[in-house]
Subunit: 202 residues, 2 copies
Amino acid sequence: MVYKHHVPSLDRLIHELKKWPGVGPRSANRWANWLLRTSKVEIQQLRQALKDIKTNIKKCPGCFTLTEEEKLCYLCDSPTRKKDIICIVEEPFDIAHIEASGKFKGQYHVLHGALSPLNKVTPEDLTLGPLMDKIRKGQIKEVILALDADMEGDITALYIGKMMKNYHVKVSRLAHGIPFGGDIDYIDEQTLGRALENRVEI
Amino acid sequence: MVYKHHVPSLDRLIHELKKWPGVGPRSANRWANWLLRTSKVEIQQLRQALKDIKTNIKKCPGCFTLTEEEKLCYLCDSPTRKKDIICIVEEPFDIAHIEASGKFKGQYHVLHGALSPLNKVTPEDLTLGPLMDKIRKGQIKEVILALDADMEGDITALYIGKMMKNYHVKVSRLAHGIPFGGDIDYIDEQTLGRALENRVEI
């Protein structure tokens, strides 16, 4: 289904919205209609926010997450968070998820990707150098790998595990298993296999 | 679920996206992430399109749909479309739907709403005056009401039908019934009721 309004700026807006992941012509059309009725002030706020994400955001020199702070991000700068435990994530957006769980109160380190022979992502493309600098300083006791549960995540976990072998650092990875509320009938075999391997005594 | 990135312009963008109809925190978060990785050029195109819909679009003086043309819209201006039949719609966006069906080759008239005693939409709020001006000129032979199948649409259809009673104009309304591909088991009773009332001989 293609909606063509023959109103150039409207058709251009719909064309731009359809580029977004998971957005089809029907949704793009609906939102263009909504945006058309929205006040100029609201549109200006949206336009400003779009501009700001491209101009204001940079990487934290401590953990490489996204920040607008002049020096360290709010996580690296926090005096109450543990300094001797690092949670390693692939992307900055992963941090908000882990923070929402409320179960981790240490430092983060963002790799900005995962090793992938297929997509030619090599160790040099990730922030592994600065990570090893932190480890060499000797103040890190534990590293938690919060990587995606896919092939890239597995390769990256293996690689980091090897890199840290000669240092006195405890390295662990997030548990893989049945999700909370998950029905065993509906779990795929790979998840079920990992849940069996990683079974815990009660 | 609330994702808080503690990156003000990012959180602002997510806040703006969550205002859109049917967009929850998960989608807003996903698109903010995608927009963050999109090129500056792409973002600028989106910002320009958002600006343009607020500055370039006006109402066609003929049918009151949205247009960027100096005089009449491309539909009113078309030399090949029939001049003696008008399809009346509630909103400009309805036209693209009807055009997509390819079954109508006449003129349109956009009411910009429907009568609603509840929401205090009166005949004066709609473009009924200019519609009657067209009818009085005597060149219109047929009027098709393509209004929504709800209470407001019913009231508006009734009102327009009465207004046109004293003119030699054939007035009809879009057929209500079972949608194409519809399974009778799953059709609601109101639709089924109307489909029975409007049954056609074969």
